[in-house]
Chain length 477, copies 2
Amino acid sequence: MSDASEPKLAAAQSAALEAARGRADSYVQELADFVRIPSVSTDTKHADDMTRAAEWLAERVRRAGVPDVNIMPTAGYPVVVGRWHAAPGAPTVVIYGHYDVQPPEPLELWKSAPFEPELRDGKLYGRGASDDKAGVLSAVYAVEAAAAATGAPPINVTFMFEGEEEVGSPNLVPFIRANKELFAADLAISADGGIFDVGVPSLTVGSRGLTGVEVSVKGANADLHSGMYGGAVANPIMALSHILSSLQDENGVVQVAGFYDGIPELTPAERQAIDSVPKVEGELESLGLQEWWGDPAYTPDERRVVRPTLEVNGMWGGYQGAGIKTVLPSEAFAKITCRLVQGQDPAEVADKLSQHILAAAPAGVSVNVRKLPGNGRAYQMPLDLTVLDLAGDAMEATFGQRPFPVWTGGTVPVAEQFVSELGIWCLYFAFGEPDNGLHAPNEFYRVKTLHQGVEATIRLFFGLAENPAALQSPAEV
Amino acid sequence: MSDASEPKLAAAQSAALEAARGRADSYVQELADFVRIPSVSTDTKHADDMTRAAEWLAERVRRAGVPDVNIMPTAGYPVVVGRWHAAPGAPTVVIYGHYDVQPPEPLELWKSAPFEPELRDGKLYGRGASDDKAGVLSAVYAVEAAAAATGAPPINVTFMFEGEEEVGSPNLVPFIRANKELFAADLAISADGGIFDVGVPSLTVGSRGLTGVEVSVKGANADLHSGMYGGAVANPIMALSHILSSLQDENGVVQVAGFYDGIPELTPAERQAIDSVPKVEGELESLGLQEWWGDPAYTPDERRVVRPTLEVNGMWGGYQGAGIKTVLPSEAFAKITCRLVQGQDPAEVADKLSQHILAAAPAGVSVNVRKLPGNGRAYQMPLDLTVLDLAGDAMEATFGQRPFPVWTGGTVPVAEQFVSELGIWCLYFAFGEPDNGLHAPNEFYRVKTLHQGVEATIRLFFGLAENPAALQSPAEV
C-alpha cells in the first residue's frame, strides 16, 4: 500500500476500536456461551461436545463476516478454518488457537461449576475461559471489528482453530502439511499464550525444544544373592551410575561430545533482555533452596530459558522397600530428557546422547538406549524482528506500557512448527495472566483483559497493514 | 588324657559306632516324629507347636542320658539346653542347632504334606527334615551312642538348641551374654550347615560379614517442571549418580578411603584351597553372562567369598512410568550394602562409607546417610587349625574321602558370635546336601546321610577326646 493510505487506515482503525467498544457486553456473554460447551478433548464421553464446540465456533466466525468457513476433518478432532482474504497486497496471517479445554477435575475445588460460567468481580469463571476460548474469540472479535469501516479487515486472515491442543496436537502437523497452500501466509499469530502479569504486557520470543532417551542396563538374567555373587557379577545400578555421572559434570555442564555444537552465542541484547525480565520475588526460598545451581558461565535466568539442559527424570533398579535386602539387581533404568535451544536438532542430540551412553557402558553389563517420543525444536525469534516492534506498538497503545520480551524454558511445539512447516514466524499475541488458573480449578478470564486483547489485536492488524513489506521470514535471518 | 587312654578310647569309639548302627531304624523314626511338629517360628499361630517341639526335644535329650536339661526362656522362643560334663580334663564343646523351621508354603507344591513326613527312595520328606531337625538329632544320637561303652561321652557336651534361627536369632546373643559361664567351652560345633554334595564332604571355614547404609539426596522441596527450572536447580538423581560412581571404579575396586584397611593378605594356602573347590558346571551360562566381572587382582572365586564387596541393592527417584515426564525430581535414594571379610569392622566400614558419601555430595543438594540394620562380622577359620584336621579325619573315616574347605560369601552371624561372645571357634559339622530343598517345597533328608552324620560326629567326639590340648582359641591365632 502507498503512504497515502495511512490516514485512511488510521481512520479505519479508529472505527474498528469504536465498533469493538460498542460490542463489549456481547463479548463476555458470547465467551460464557462458548465456555458452557464442555469441549474436553481427552475424554471420549465429550466427543459430541467437541462437535458442538466446533460448530458453535464456525458459526461465530461466519457471523463475524468471514466468507469462507469450514470444519475440516483430521484423524482426530476437526480444525475450524476461516479465510477472509480481501486485502490484496496486504500481509496474510494465520491465526492459531484451540477450542478444546482441559478436564475440570477435581470438581469439588470449583466455587462455581466449571461449565456453568459465572461472572464475579470482573472475572468470568469457567473451564477454558482463559485457555483458550478467550484467545480464540478475541481474534474473531478483532477481525469482525476491523472490518467495521471498510467491510473487510485490512489484512488477509486465515483462522486455524484446532481441537487437540490439550492432548498434544497429534494431528496438527499432518493437517498443516496436507494443506500448505490453504495456510500460506506471511506470519502466524498464536492466540494461545499470555502476558507477564495483570496489566503488564510481554511478548514471548522463545521456548526450548526437547528430546529424550530411556536407558536400560542389564547384568545377570535374574536378581542374585549378593553373598553368592557380589564381587564377581557386575551391578547394573552401579554401571548406570557410572554412565549417568559421565554425562554431566557437577556444575551441570554436559559432557556429551557435540552436545553444544551449533548453538549461537547469546548476543549482548539477548543477555540484557533476559536479565531485564522482572524477577519473581522469593522464588528461590519458595523452592526450599539456598542458591541457584548450574553452569557458572551463564546466569540462572539464562540457564532456565536459553541454555540446553540434561535431566535425569527418573531412575530405578533393585530393591526400594523398607530395611535391608542384599540383592544384586539384574537391571536398572533411567529416563533422560534434554531441553534444547536454537541450533540443536532433537534427533541429532538424541543420537549423540545414545552414542555417549553406549560408549560409557562399563564391562559386565549390556546397555540399551531407546528414544523417547515427544521431540521438538526450540523456538527463538530474533529480538530485532520488525513484527516484534509492531506488536510492541499495539500493546503499548493498549496497556500504556511497552511489552518486554520473555522466554519460556519449556517446550511449546506449535510456534516452531509454523517455522518448519510453513516457513513463517509465529508471534505469540495472547493476553491471559499467570493467575488465570490454567489447567486448575476456578480458571477465569478478566473482562477488562478481554477488551484489551481485542483492542491490541485490532491495532496489530492495522499496524501490519501499514507495514506490508516489513515482515521477515525465518529464511531471511 | 594320657597316651595310655588311646586304646581305651578306640575301643569306646568302636562300641559307640556299633551302638549307633543298632539304633539306625529308630533314628529315622524319631526324626519323622520331630518333623511332625510344625514348629514354624515366624507364624504366631504355631506358638503352641513351638512349645511342643522344645518339650519333645528336651525329653529326647534327657533320654539320651544327658543329666542336666532345661528349657531356658528368652525374650522370644526358649532355648533347649542340655549339659553332660562327665569327662574331666577332656575338651568341652557347645553344640548349636535349632528346632524351629521355615513356613511350608506354597503347600500345593509339596508331593506329601510338609508335616506328615513320608519316606520315599531312602529320603525322609518334610519341612525341617534337613534344616535343622536332622542336624539337631544327629548330635543328640551321637552323644547318646558315644556314652554306650563308658556311660558318658568322652568329652563334655553342652547343647544349645534355639527356636528362632529362621527369624534371624534376635535373642540369641543376649541369651549367650546372660549365660556365659553356662556355655564356657573350648569349641562350638554347629549342627546347622551342610556338605558340598551327596557323598562329598566339605568343611565351611568362612563366611562374609555385612554392613549397609541408605542414602537420601534432596534438592528442591517439590518435583519441578524441567522446562521452568532445568539448568538452574540441581538434580538429586544426577547428584546421587556422581556419589555412587565415586564409590567404586569400573572394575569394582572400592574407592572409599580405608575400606580395605586391616584385611590380611590371602595366604597361598587359602588361595590354593579356594581354587580347589570344585566348580559348578555351567554356572556362568546359567546366569546369562559371558564372563565374570570384578577386581582383576583376585580370581572370581576369591571375589565371591573372601574379598569385600560394595553393592547398590536399590536406587530410585523421579518418574518410573511409561513414556516421558519432564520432571526435575526433588529426591533420590539408594540402598548400599557391603559384604565384609576378616579384619573389617561393620561399624567402622559404615562410618567410612558415610564419610565418603557426605564428602562426595555435589553442590545444590543435601545428602543424608542412615545406617541399615543387620550388621555382622565375617568369620574365617585359619586353614591350619587342628580342629579342622580332626574334623577332616572324622569325615574321611566316614565318607571315604577327605573333606575340602569351602566358603560361603553370604553372612551367617552365628559362627562369628561364638568367637565374639565366647572366645571360641565354631566348627561347622553338619551334613545336609545342596539338593535338600531348604526353605523350599519337598524338603528332605537322606537316611544314609543321617547315619553318616551320626558316625562322623561320634568319630569327632573321640578325636577331640584323644587330642585335648590341640584346640586353639581365636585369641591364640
